[in-house]
């Protein structure tokens, strides 16, 4: 169970105009600006739910994921994942969760994928036979057979992403946070990844929270959608609720979401 109550997070940003004069001015006086990344965010996600977290760029999606995974500390508010406060009990908390940051890599660049996996399994203290079983299952489902012995640097983006997702699941986490897991993937890989996430949820009752800009991800995966904009939670409902904002009869999902963002002025 994930509970988030009245979370706030503010970042300080230094701004200046372009140009030499402005740069010199900034040496003496920097203009500070506070960005309210998250303002009074509250929601609850039950065990085994699959929730899509959407919003325009810079809305605060990644910040939420980072708070939930114990990396960031919010300025105020309460939050618990399976009765643990992520940033306080970081080490015991992260044992139970899996995180995929679509834009970053957790694999060792110069060694075969399998080496990275072995290290991860030892870091998470996964028993040997369980590790082999999980690995077999993941290899099968994500089609990793050919690429496990290749160093990460020689893989294509799609291949690497599949390996990243498998890496985050080696310890059978109960909760999975996916931050743009399908970014840059081709159609086949996207389908494989979606299929896999669905299966993981069905088979192991994994709770999934996923952020994405790909509305087809949402359609394929999420029973429930959270919309965030300018740091505020604007909508908590089903995909059907989103479709109420459909601008025309034949509007695509992307157009619907664009209309939704317009309706909420975000």
């Amino acid at each position: 169970m994930i509970q988030v109550e009245h979370i706030n997070k503010t970042f300080t940003v230094y701004r200046r105009n372009a140009g030499f004069n402005e740069a010199v001015k900034a040496l003496f006086h920097r203009q500070k600006e506070y960005i309210h990344a998250l303002q009074d965010i509250s929601f609850t996600i039950g065990d085994g739910e699959m929730v899509g977290y959407i919003g325009p760029n810079g809305a605060g999606k990644s910040s939420t994921i980072k708070i939930l995974s114990g990396i960031l500390t919010p300025d105020s508010g309460a939050c618990s994942v399976n009765d643990r406060i992520p940033w306080k009990d970081r080490k015991s908390h992260v044992k139970d969760i899996g995180v995929v940051f679509g834009q970053r890599s957790q694999l060792w660049w110069d060694v075969p994928i399998l080496d990275s996996y072995e290290l991860l399994s030892e870091i998470y203290e996964v028993p040997k036979n369980q590790y082999h079983q999980t690995l077999e299952e993941l290899t099968d489902l994500l089609n990793l057979d050919q690429i496990l012995h290749t160093p990460a640097r020689q893989l294509s983006l799609g291949q690497r992403m599949r390996c990243e997702i498998a890496a985050s699941l080696l310890h059978n986490p109960k909760v999975l946070f996916l931050d743009e897991p399908t970014i840059g993937l081709d159609a086949v890989s996207k389908l494989a990844v979606r299929d896999f996430i669905r299966r993981q949820n069905k088979l192991h009752k994994t709770t999934v929270l996923l952020t994405t800009h790909d509305m087809q991800d949402i359609e394929a995966l999420a029973d429930r959608v959270l919309l965030i904009g300018k740091g505020r939670l604007l909508l908590d409902g089903s995909l059907e609720d989103l479709k109420l904002h459909k601008p025309g009869k034949h509007a695509t999902l992307d157009e619907t979401v664009a209309a939704l963002y317009r309706d909420y002025r975000i």
Binding site: D115, D179, E180
Partner: protein
Amino acid sequence: MKKYISFFRIRFTNGLQYRTAALSGMVTQFFWGAMEILLFKAFYEAAPEQFPMEFSALATYVWLQQAFLTLYLAWVWENELFQTITTGDVAYELCRPVSLYNMWFARGLAFRLSKASLRCMPVLIFAWFLPAPYGLTLPHDISTWLLTILSMVLGLLFVTAFGMVVYLSAFYTISTQGTKLVISSLSEFLSGAVIPLPFLPPKLGRIFSLLPFASAQNVPFRIFGGDLKGDAIVTSLALQVFWFLMFLMIGRMMERHALKRVVVQGG
């Protein structure tokens, strides 16, 4: 503990695969060592009575230094760690059920040891075959060997703990270029990597030998060559322990503080 050993292992095996770098490093070290000894030879012949070390102790110092260069030099940075922090990839490291400090400490040890293990033997064997006093002079008593090994371990622990402070400073500054540059040149001079500390003016040398930098290569190599004896060994070892614990503490405090205010940039 087991996870940190695994961490050590993967970093170590990872370090072993860069063969060309090791080979070229070794060639450099042969030449550098030979040139340095020839240079000191010239000084020695000009005024042997003013030479602050035995010549054989100096040659031993130089060869050990070349063989174990990557163990103790401050500028052996793991740039990946700086990048991890500045690009925000550290987010993944923070999602692991391990202490960031211990994980990186194990990694730092493995990085230095893997580099050194590839390079040290050829240099040591070569130096051992050189005629006295230009080569490696081995001590006769077992206690000197043991003290050298103890001091080498302490020195390595200290250098790694010192490096951790510099890595962690990346959480506070956007670019670590400046810090790295200052630290590298300062420590190279103060640790006796350019010239052994006994060659400095006596007053200055005494001050320098109290500074943390002197707790790296300076102590074990001088014990091995017989330049440090008796009480001086005890004091130096105690200083090594002191500075190691000091930097361990500073690093851990920085870790705690940095993780509280960490901001992961770029989505």
